[in-house]
Amino acid sequence: MEKQQDIKNIIKKLHPLERRVLPALADCNTETLLEKTTSLKQVEVVRALQWLYNKRMVNLSEKITELVELDSNGIEFLKTGLPEKRFLQALSTEKKTFSQLLKVLSKEEINMAIGLLKSKAAITVRKEEELVFSITNQGKKILEKGFMEERFLQKLPLNKNELEPEDKFCFDNLLKRKKIVKTTIRKEKIAKLLPLGEQIIKVGISSRQVIDRLTPEIIKKDHYKGKEFRAYDVEINVPKIKGGKTHPYADFVFQARQKLVEMGFTETTGPIIETEFFNFDALYQPQNHPARNWTDTYAIKQPKYGRLPDKKTVQAVKNAHENGAGTGSTGWKYKWSETIAKQLMPRAHDTAITPRELSRKDLKIPGRYFTIVRCFRPDVIDATHAVEFNQLGGFVVGDNLNFAQLLGLLKDFAQNLTGAKEFKYFPDYFPFVEPGVQLSAKHPKFGWMELCGAGIGRPELSEPLGIKGPVLMWGFGIDRLAMLKLGISDIRDLFQTNIKTLRESKAVML
């Protein structure tokens, strides 16, 4: 048994419909009866019963009944009177010819009424130029007494199985006639009060008016003062809002940008269509050499060639390839071609931007630099390879930089981008750095993951571009981190094409 206080709370939350239906259940239990008692519409009664059921105040069962109901003609006749009644009424003052009767009855109705009234000896028929009808005494009596079929129609709907003998007789007769009555199957809810419902009725639902929906009218006219509000079920499930949303992956990429700025980095960018010079040559990747084949690259049809930077830079890069350019390196020892270097291609990696920036005359040194850009490679497409992807990378330039500081920077990245507390450095190979290192971090949620590749730019890379000391270079496979964060297992789903998925997307927090 619920406590008195709880019962009062429950009563407070009752919907106006429930407030009307629940007390009525003390006396009646079917939908039909409730409709009559409460004067509510059927749908309202049904809704209230369903809510009461959900709140375990009533139990519901279903009763199937066959109902006798008015059909289309029946509805009409109930208003205008049965044809046989109207026929007799027309004769009550004087006899009528067929054509005179046609003014009040249809031909069909007349023919039907003649047979019926003759069998009851209520009329006589004479044949003159046309048929002439007159009422008999018997007919007058019938008219006075009223038709029992009409009384029957007025009582509808009735339960077919519970018809009185007289009603049954009327029903059988009327069923033979066109569209006066019909039977329908009706499923009706039967409610049985449960202890909670009974308790509530016992306590009593105050008839004091409670405020349901707060309207401007109520506010303006102070109607809420001294009144009680119906309490709502705050645990209820509500329909979802359909609003606009930014793209989770775009949000992720921007958050990565913000993180890098918070870490003191300057954002840079570069062209999507790049010269081989910056994509490879200035990174000390030899032409026509297996070492340049570490990735497949796209080529473009037109335009074929771009412009190279200033002569001094080009010459220095050429020397680095051919003889080490006085950096202490042997160089690649081959004839470097300016034509190959001038060829245009879609940027294959974010690192193409590093030599571009390093060779800029107005580059601020010392400085921390980063970029997030799309890169393009003709890979075989699968769950982990796309032909187009984002890379996050950058470099730090300044005096007295060293490998120990690079390791420190990587540690900061691990902490800032993944919240990792554990991390490890692994020796790794990237064609333009030496020494090369890879940082793996233990992500609090996803476990150990390769996070960042880095190294010190080779002297053959940095010195020809006019940079004296070590340049710290680093890069992230940011798409992998994004996939983990967005809960995506196929890289192609980063560029989602289903609007439903985007409409339902969740917030990302890097």
Binding site: G243, G244, T246, H247, A250, F254, R257, M263, F265, T266, P271, I272, I273, P290, A291, N293, A299, I300, K301, Q302, P303, G306, P309, T327, G328, S329, T330, K333, P346, P366, G367, R368, I381, V387, E388, G398, L401, N402, F403, A404, Q405, L407, G408, K411, Y425, P427, D428, Y429, P431, E434, P435, G436, P459, E460, L494, F495, Q496, I499, K500, L502
Partner: protein
């Protein structure tokens, strides 16, 4: 990056000291920049990140590196005696495949494992380092079946021999058509009218490089005692390295390496080259780069463990000696890395970055996100598309904006063969993929496009574009212009929309958006012909703006 298969038992045997699998996986394998990809009983698959060190692409190579790191004795410099064999190279190979480096290895006690490794190393070198046999092709033969001297010469295509795994003679051109290897690598030869052959003094064909060995001399089995090895190609720099690595692996297995005279007529050469090289390591420079101070003695100890021969030179220098197969070493920084790896990356000092912060975010990025937030607030769903798209979406679907797109000459898929010149086609494509989804659909994208631009260094420019489309039964020009005006009001710029023509829009319902005399984009109702091409049955309206230009005006 190469993946090497090897037997753990074999690896331990070569290292010569019992090691546990955990030691290998957690520590030792890092010395070759490796990672164990899988372990199935005794079989390991090891991914080696060193794409520039073919000497590590075998059990022998991995074992050699680990052995030294563990401080075990290893004979660092390989020496070889003479075999007396000569290979005469004919000048008619000049443009076909003119160079070769050869060696003989005797007393090889071949086992299954050694044979598997020999073939694996040969394949890895040819495929990765040798650019799929173009730069380097390697042949291994039963030396006892060969009668020297050997001639390397181009022969007419009608010449015949029995290729490996065949039982009858085929002409050289038949081999290119019928033999699986001929079909795979034939394109390296088919443009020539003669093909290269190695032939011994009694006329036996050894092989047709870079395609296939003969079935007789070129078949190596467990019974083979002595081996002849040749590398063919164009550039001795690669051939010598490839050959040195092959013979080094066999030397580690107990084979005796012998030199071969390669006779080019006027010029003669003895291979394997096994050239000794040296670089001076400056310990001050080392400290400056690494942040680690070590003594000369300590440096020499670490260098020895890194498989170098180290000699002190003065106070701060160490003379580091190594052999030709370490072709990756060009500068003392390459030695420094090996030294640091031996020291252990996780034992190195870690310091704070000694560069003051220089925080800066490009305004166009800041504005992009601000505007994305604004458009989402109007019910827009942000979309991200690839920058690569296809001609069809741009042209067949009447989505051409009059700008010739940059086209990929080697696409992997016809879905991605040009760069987008504007965003609306991609958004239309997106709508066409969501025809069965709930309407209205309001979508937008912000991203770079690629435009031809003769004035820039790269003949292209990449402005950031902003596009917004609304697909809805009641969308019209007003809907589109309202959304566009909303953006301009937000950023505080005044735009003027003037009448214009654009095939993608309905005539009379498209406007050119301008500001201070500059065209910034278009707004209008998408032409029903375009809609039909995309299978759309609802009106679509929208606009596209050059955000880079707009941000520059602010």
């Amino acid at each position: 990056m190469p993946t090497i298969e090897c037997s753990f038992k074999d690896l331990k045997k070569l290292i010569g000291k019992p090691i546990t699998y955990t030691e290998l996986e957690k520590e030792l394998i890092l010395y070759v920049k490796g990672e164990i990809e899988s372990k199935e009983r005794d079989n390991l698959k090891i991914e080696v990140a060193e794409t520039n060190r073919p000497d590590l692409w075998s059990t022998e190579g991995i074992a050699r590196e680990i052995k030294c790191k563990l401080g075990l004795k290893y004979n660092n410099l390989l020496k070889c005696r003479k075999s007396g064999l000569t290979v005469k190279v004919h000048p008619n190979l000049k443009n076909i495949r003119p160079r070769t480096s050869c060696a003989v290895v005797k007393n090889v006690k071949l086992t299954n494992e050694i044979l598997i490794q020999l073939i694996q190393l040969q394949e890895k070198i040819c495929n990765t380092f040798g650019a799929k046999r173009e730069q380097v092709a390697i042949g291994v033969y039963d030396y006892n079946k060969i009668t020297g001297p050997i001639e390397y010469k181009a022969y007419p295509k009608t010449h015949k021999f029995i290729p490996l795994e065949f039982d009858k003679e085929l002409t050289l051109s038949q081999i290119l058509q019928k033999h699986p290897k001929g079909r795979e690598y034939g394109k390296l030869l088919e443009k020539f009218d003669k093909y290269p052959l190695f032939i011994d003094s009694v006329g036996q064909v050894l092989s047709m490089p870079p395609i296939i060995n003969s079935n007789h001399t070129g078949k190596v089995t467990l019974n083979t005692k002595n081996l002849f090895i040749e590398c063919s190609g164009f550039d001795d720099r690669y051939l010598d390295v490839a050959l040195d690595i092959m013979v080094l692996a066999l030397h580690d297995r107990g084979g005796i390496v012998e030199g071969v005279n390669v006779d080019y007529g006027k010029v003669k050469k003895t291979t394997p080259f096994l050239e000794e090289k040296s670089i001076s390591l400056n310990l001050d420079r080392f400290e400056k780069i690494s942040g680690l101070r070590i003594s000369q003695v300590e440096a020499m100890k670490l260098l020895k463990k890194s498989n170098f021969i180290a000699k002190a030179k003065g106070k701060n220098l160490v003379d580091v000696k190594f052999q030709n197969y370490r072709q990756d070493i060009m500068h003392q920084v390459d030695i420094m890395e090996d030294l640091l790896i031996t020291y252990g990356y996780n034992n190195l000092p870690v310091e704070e970055l000694n560069v003051l912060p220089t925080p800066y975010l490009r305004p166009v990025e800041k504005w992009s996100r601000k505007i994305a937030g604004l458009l989402a607030g109007t019910g827009g769903i942000e979309v991200m598309n690839y920058m690569l798209t296809n001609k069809e979406d741009l042209q067949k679907n009447v989505m051409h904006n009059g700008i010739e797109p940059i086209e990929i000459s080697n696409p992997v898929s016809k879905n991605w063969n040009i760069f987008r010149t504007w965003l609306i086609p991609g958004l239309m494509h997106f709508l066409s993929k969501n025809i069965k989804q709930e309407y209205p659909q309001r979508i937008f994208e912000i991203g770079e496009v690629v435009l031809p631009d003769a004035n820039t260094e790269t003949k292209t420019s990449n402005p950031v574009s902003l596009a917004f489309l609304i697909a809805s039964a009641d969308a019209d020009f007003t809907t589109a212009k309202q959304a566009m005006q909303h953006v301009f009001d937000y950023i505080g710029l005044k735009q003027k929309t003037v009448e214009t023509k654009h095939d993608s829009f309905i005539p009379g319902r498209v406007g050119r958006i301008t500001c201070s005399g500059k065209t910034l984009g278009y707004v209008g109702e998408i032409n029903p012909e375009v809609l039909a091409n995309f299978g759309m049955e609802l009106p679509v309206v929208g606009f596209e703006l050059n955000l880079t230009e707009i941000v520059e005006m602010l």
